[in-house]
Symmetry: C2
Subunit: 249 residues, 2 copies
């Protein structure tokens, strides 16, 4: 089969899911997946052993990079020497691994207050969060946390010890927060924030926080502060269904 | 342009790089990248702002999933609302993010000894390592560390506190090690190990360790044990060139 002929199965189907940040601000999605107009939908492969429905976290439309590598269909099987199913291209031998992604951020502190940002982007538009975001290649966790603090809050901080590492397996993320001291009060909303302000503990908008890892990190922070000693906390946030499946309470 | 015609640019070029584990045990690569036989090589895109040469860590051949999504060429540009260049498909709007990958493992302890595994796979075939590997989707960091301990050393452990989180930005990884107590001595080499044994501190084969993060974790472990108090250590291992570029000593 000539690699330049039409018989090499030029991609005809697109998987529109959702992932990560950067979605068009006004984008609306009527469903989890859709075939591109005029293109034929295909059966969706299952990524990482879970249903593609679980990709509906975050709001980035993407055509799945695993569907095609060299233009041949991807097969779901256990590669030699491996123990779990992967997306494999039988044509060129490529194995397309999918791994969880680190999210890194800070807890910026000024006297008895903590800095929060009100999100100007989806998901959780208008909700409050600690400055945090996806770690980029080529940077360390601390560099990533600092970068996000500048991008979202235009805040200058001295970064401190690791405070929380919270697994969120059902969205394939690990959230890492460092304690940080604000160096001045010259913060301001970055492009991804509507508003940035300092909160004393009783003022924290608990019902208006964007993410469970942020709420958990803040709860642990105030608890540690109250007892006068800060630890490093490794925890996981799981869906009730997954806990039941794993036989855990 | 009809999406099913030959004019939709059926993929003609393949990027053979290297990534992760699972490479055929006898595979030999004469260079960093090669065009598939009978296919035309293309200029390589730069991933994550670094040279593709840096992909020569690990030994997994892969055809780059970012080169094509819906069959159109990928463009390197800053997407709307973003601040750095990404691989973007102008045809379907997909933004292909690349993020660092977590590696998770344990420091299995029995009395005054630590368990190490001698690798039966590339990279670092024949070198000694702590049990560790790429975190899988759907699991927590602790679950992944436990799984790797079973897979590589058939060892049953009670997992303990986070001990090291070491960034390795030049290979886009974050290595996470938990302290762990061996529950019995019924360990044995898994498929990825030639040999598994316990080492007292003076017996550690420092010159035969597989990875710098393993050596650093063991150094910190013995130092903390000597002073009678274990901490949580967040560090980075960097290439001298990168340190110089960042103006760091």
């Amino acid at each position: 089969m000539s690699p330049t002929s039409c018989q090499t199965a030029p991609p005809r189907d697109i998987w529109l899911g959702s992932r990560g940040r950067g979605a068009p601000k006004n984008a609306k999605y009527s469903g989890i997946f859709a075939a591109l107009p005029g293109r034929q939908a295909a059966p969706w492969p299952v990524i990482g052993g879970r249903s593609p429905l679980l990709d509906w976290f975050g709001h980035e439309p993407f055509c799945h990079p695993l569907l095609r590598c060299c233009g041949q269909p991807i097969v779901r099987r256990v590669p030699a020497g491996d123990s779990r199913e992967r997306d494999v291209c039988e044509h060129c031998g490529a194995v397309h691994y999918v791994n969880p992604r680190p999210v890194v951020g800070t807890i910026p502190v000024w006297e008895d207050t903590v800095l929060l940002c009100r999100r100007a982007i989806e998901p959780r538009y208008g909700k409050w969060t600690l400055p945090a975001g996806f770690m980029e290649v080529g940077e360390t966790t601390r560099e990533g946390a600092l970068r996000e603090t500048v991008e979202e809050a235009r805040a200058r901080v001295a970064i401190g010890p690791l405070f929380t590492m919270i697994d969120v397996p059902y969205i394939e993320q690990v959230h890492v927060f460092f304690r940080a001291d604000l160096l001045d009060l010259q913060f301001a909303p970055g492009e991804e924030s509507l508003e940035v302000r300092l909160f004393r503990e009783p003022e924290i908008p608990w019902q208006e926080l964007a993410f469970r890892t942020v709420a958990q990190t803040l709860r642990l922070f105030f608890a540690d502060r109250a007892r006068g000693e800060f630890g490093t906390h490794v925890q996981a946030i799981e869906l009730p269904a997954r806990l039941a499946q794993a036989g855990r309470p």
